[in-house]
Amino acid sequence: MARRRRVWVSLCVALLLIGVARARATRRTAASPPEPRAGVLSESASSAFERARREQALMRAEATVEMLRALAAAPVLAGAGP
């Protein structure tokens, strides 16, 4: 009898915890979103953005440059290279 009660209590506690977690997640979601507003970036921010995006893309591409260097230094399959 006591064992069965323990089982039910465990199940109820688990369900309660899941419920609390879901409620907290829902409240967080509902509290957050401002509406996106398009076309309001200042001119300086817009031109700076284009530059930042390009620079960062090329900085991230440095990994591919280093891998090409590694390839140039490695022995390659016969006739595989240019």
């Binding site: 967080r28 921010a45 960062q56 090329l58 090409l68």
Partner: protein, 369 residues
Amino acid sequence: MRLGAERAALAFVLLLALSLVGVPFILRPRDMAAVRGVVLDGRGFGVPEVAVFLFDVERRQLLEETRTEARGDFAFHLSSRDVRVFVRPPEASGFLPAWGPAHEDGVGRQALVLQPARGLELAVRGPDGQPLAGAEVCVYERRVEAVALDLARTGADGRAHLLAPARADVRVREPRSGLARWRFDLEVPVEGGELVLDLPTGRRVRGVVRGPEGPLAGAWISAEADSESTWSDFATSAGDGGFELCLGLGPATLRVLDPTAAHLPLARRLATAELAESSLALELERATPLVVRIARNGLPLAARVWSWSGASEAWSFGARTDVAGRARVPVGARYGLRAEPLDPAFAPLELWDVDHAAGTLHLEASPRR
């Protein structure tokens, strides 16, 4: 008897929970971690006998190499967590080299479509106007993400031949000083093109990046010389926060970004006298990381997200969303934001002059008009 039924019910609930969260990972076949794919030409036909290389991205090491089979298929049985495929067809084939998707995008079988190559003759001259031998020249392609496609060194005549796409970015770097010069959005004609790049006189600039807690490792520093009004060079700060850049003469603007989103970006204009100092100190302010979730009809959408810091007038490091569509960007009390879905069918999202509020910022993408 009743207790047995309850146990069975509990076991069922447990199995149900496992099937929802864990079983797909537990029972995932080991072979799914292997890298396989196909190399195709523009018409969709498999390209045989093309050299395919597998790299460990974190270590920047070549792991394995193979060739495509008769129908253009390839497979690597060596699996690693963070790998990337590079395909290099013979130059006589007329195709450009190509990179497979980055690990975060490279789920399942990869299909690499080869684009036609265009020839690019580069001539590099040093500050004295003479041909510069041994300079490293690199051709980049910028589509969804930028990649380096071809790399070479100039010969004794200061010239190098590279393969390029129709629209390319080019960098030349002098090996001893590290001085670099860029040419962006270069249009390369079908019949091939020529480009002359003159390297200016350069000087080394050293500095340290610090946050409120002390030296900051892994920060990205980029420099733009005022006189050239173009990007000069970039570096990453070392474990002690130190970095070294090679700049042209004259004032410059330095931008510092923290990819961990823990600090606000910094843009600082430096006069010639400051650049001549033995070591520059660049101090970053602590930021509040903001979690942004990009979705379409509730489903996560792959995107890159930047935040704008009005105080320093600089954009943050562009953070890539994870599998749940979430990215972290650094913000202050008020911020601007721009998110660009990687799928060009969706329009960029912008927010401007927003008060910071706790919690996740949810943005819903809409199709581009």
